[in-house]
């Protein structure tokens, strides 16, 4: 075994410059690595600029918008009257929550997809979103004034993940089992949610359904603090995982040979991914498809290998802010939960990806 690996590893390294696949580019020396890094850096800068633009639009569009000319002074704390109200109560917290929630979903998805090596892999797939929905629904039906709905959502997500963890018999290590266990947990959670929505009064059911689809309406600065704390704690941990993850993506055998311990890396990445998603879900509800699409777009934009953690985080934030901007400003429907827009657009994007892949001659 050992000898075989020792023979294998140099052979692979030697063959790399000959076949410069996307994933090896980063690691084979300064000359080839530079273009990839520059591309990523430019993409990140562009994404940040777009995010800034979307943020300004969020604050200034519409009937209640703050005039962009007043925005700098308003942000410095000199807003008065209507502007102060819009900035501090209405759109400010909502925007800050949207940025952090989107970033958390994006990072969460990147970690998860890197482990499952499956574009459909996201914490939603293993039942996190459905579990949090059921938690919210159960809190609303059984403990209406005792457990707040967001706490119910967090508990639901945690319980769902605990059930998945224990029913696989191998923790979060085995992606195939994770997905199947997730299907089971999601089915049970959805059944419970639908039962609650069936059983309660119509207005309550309607409010609950809006929450379960993921909404950013009426968020407070407390929500913003919560999700930013989660994000700031998880970001350094994710950075530590980036390197082992990009090695593990090469396959279990090779990465074991390189000393990366795939099982442990997978467990750590999935756990971190779940913490991020659970945090995001507890402030915004299970918003669909951000954690699925952000890493996919990141992969196409950077055209590199590896887990794309930075780009996925930025793109997640951008996507959610844009979706929420649409939810606030689109005159077609009034105040629909933002999760519906991400679901429609994310679903269509996924369909486009699949179609394009299938049209390519194999």
């Amino acid at each position: 075994m050992k000898t075989a690996e020792r023979i294998d590893t140099p052979a692979v390294t030697a063959s790399r410059p000959v076949r410069p696949t996307g994933r090896s580019l980063v690691r084979i020396g300064p000359w080839v690595a530079v273009p990839v890094r520059r591309r990523t850096a430019i993409a990140a800068a562009v994404t940040l600029l777009l995010l800034l633009g979307a943020a300004v639009a969020t604050l200034s569009l519409g009937r209640l918008g703050i005039d962009p000319a007043d925005l700098p002074s308003a942000l410095m704390g000199e807003a008065t009257g209507k502007n102060a109200f819009v900035l501090n109560r209405l759109r400010g917290p909502r925007l800050v929550v949207a940025i952090a929630t989107g970033a958390a979903f994006g990072l969460s998805g990147a970690l998860f997809q890197s482990v499952t090596r499956n574009p459909l892999g996201s914490p939603d797939v293993i039942g996190l979103g459905a579990g949090s929905g059921a938690g919210a629904a159960a809190a609303a039906l059984f403990f209406p004034d005792v457990v707040p709905v967001p706490v119910g959502a967090l508990l639901g997500a945690v319980i769902a993940m605990a059930v998945v963890y224990f029913s696989t018999g191998s923790g979060f290590r085995n992606p195939g089992r994770l997905v199947v266990a997730g299907i089971g947990v999601a089915a049970m959670s959805t059944a419970l949610t639908q039962y609650v929505v069936y059983a309660v009064e119509r207005d309550k059911a309607s409010a609950l359904t809006a929450y379960i689809n993921g909404s950013l309406a009426a968020r407070s600065w407390e929500d913003a603090t919560t999700i930013w704390l989660v994000l700031l704690v998880c970001l350094p941990l994710a950075a530590l995982l980036a390197r082992p993850l990009s090695i593990v993506e090469m396959g279990d055998d090779l990465s074991t040979g390189l000393g990366a311990r795939p099982a442990r890396t997978a467990t750590a990445a999935v756990s971190l991914s779940i913490v991020l998603s659970a945090g995001a879900v507890s402030v915004a509800g299970p918003i669909a498809f951000v954690s699925l699409t952000a890493p996919q777009i990141a992969k196409r934009v950077t055209r590199g290998g590896g887990p794309h953690l930075v780009m996925s985080t930025l793109l997640g934030a951008l996507l959610l802010v844009l979706a929420d901007l649409t939810a606030q400003q689109l005159p077609l429907f009034d105040n629909l939960p933002v999760g519906l827009y991400t679901m429609a657009v994310g679903g269509a994007y996924l369909g486009y990806l699949l179609l394009r892949e299938w049209k390519r001659p194999a």
């Binding site: 089992r177 059944a191 119509r202 299938w358």
Partner: protein
């Protein structure tokens, strides 16, 4: 392993253990009869087997007669929907070679829901009798669109269909929720339908979907030998004169018809289409002729028992059968996960 290697000889499987299959068949029939009896016996007003017998033979007093007869429609619906879901699941798992394939994956549930929501919101449809036709149309239309997307660009493949189903389901789900949330009346229709229940539907629903179910079932029976040949691999099937593409296409059409019929009649019901084929394979092996025969007995049995449990559990209220199947089926799936080998 041994069973799989024997599929090659097709008929040999049947000859291998006729006694065992007769025993299994008898057991399934007895269980089905018990399920039917339980379905007309139990409910918010329990009746005895003797009461049921008297009513069936034309005796019995008016009140008991009314109670028992009120349970006929849901029993009939349970029989039909259970059969449809079970056979559809068998077809899909056989064609996609994916042990997790089930009717919901083809986008059928989402299509039916979307059609109901759209018809209620924009065309003023109301009540069971109208919505069932919309559900059927929506389910069939979605099935067709999923097939078109899944076979775009020339190629085809079961995985593509499932992915196409997932994509379409997501987009339709967004549409459903958007319409339902902005119109309270529509939301009410939708939330009662989407739970999946045998109760309160009536014989109309049964007759409405029966033709579609019958065509789907007949197609499934005709396809069974072709599916057996395909289990050896597409190449070998082709060398036996079976066109894999044609069998797959017809099989998916049959699965679509069957699941559309079931979903339109009783709403989305999880896990029957997933679990029953697995149970049946354990019982009779890999021969699709036997699988289809046995799923059409075991599917209704499971669904009716689940419905009876739902009626008894919260008496005098009742738990919808869709909730019961999810809470029975999901733990079974979680239990089975441990036995999966290696990374998928």
């Amino acid at each position: 392993m041994t069973t799989l290697s024997r599929i090659g000889q097709g008929p040999a499987v049947v000859r291998q253990g006729p006694a065992r299959h007769f025993a299994a068949g008898a057991l399934c029939l007895i269980l089905l009869a018990l399920a039917v009896l339980a379905s007309v016996m139990f409910g918010s007003k329990p009746t005895s087997a003797a009461d049921v017998l008297r009513v069936v033979t034309g005796d019995g007093d008016g009140y008991v007669r009314t109670v028992v007869e009120s349970r006929y429609p849901r029993t009939a619906l349970g029989l039909l929907a259970g059969l449809c879901l079970g056979v559809a699941g068998t077809l899909m798992q056989g064609i996609t070679r994916n042990p997790l394939a089930e009717p919901g994956l083809l986008g059928i549930n989402a299509g039916a829901s979307a059609a109901i929501v759209a018809a209620t919101a924009f065309l003023g449809a109301s009540g069971q009798h109208e919505t069932i036709w919309w559900a059927l149309a929506g389910a069939l239309a979605t099935g067709v669109v999923v097939h078109l997307i899944g076979t775009a660009g020339g190629g085809s493949g079961p995985v593509r269909l499932v992915l196409a189903g997932a994509v379409l389901s997501a987009v339709l789900a967004a549409f459903i929720q958007a319409v339902a949330l902005s119109r309270p009346q529509v939301f009410d229709t939708y939330r009662y339908w989407v739970v999946g229940s045998l109760g309160g539907r009536g014989f109309d629903a049964f007759w409405a979907v029966l033709p579609f179910a019958a065509v789907g079932f007949a197609l499934a029976v005709l396809l069974a030998p072709g599916l057996n040949a395909m289990a050896m691999g597409d190449d070998k099937a082709a060398s036996l004169g079976v066109s894999p593409a044609r069998v797959k296409g017809a099989g998916l059409l049959a699965a679509t018809l069957l699941s559309a019929a079931a979903t339109a009649a009783v709403g989305p019901i999880a896990f029957v289409g997933l679990a029953v084929p697995h149970l049946v394979r354990v019982l009779v092996g890999a021969d699709f002729r036997l699988q289809i025969l046995f799923t059409s007995l075991a599917g209704p049995t499971l669904l009716l028992f689940a419905d009876v449990i739902g009626r008894v559990l919260l008496r005098p209220q009742e738990l919808m059968v869709g909730v019961v199947t999810a809470f029975v089926g999901a733990p079974a799936l979680l239990f089975a996960v441990r036995r999966m080998r290696g990374a998928a």
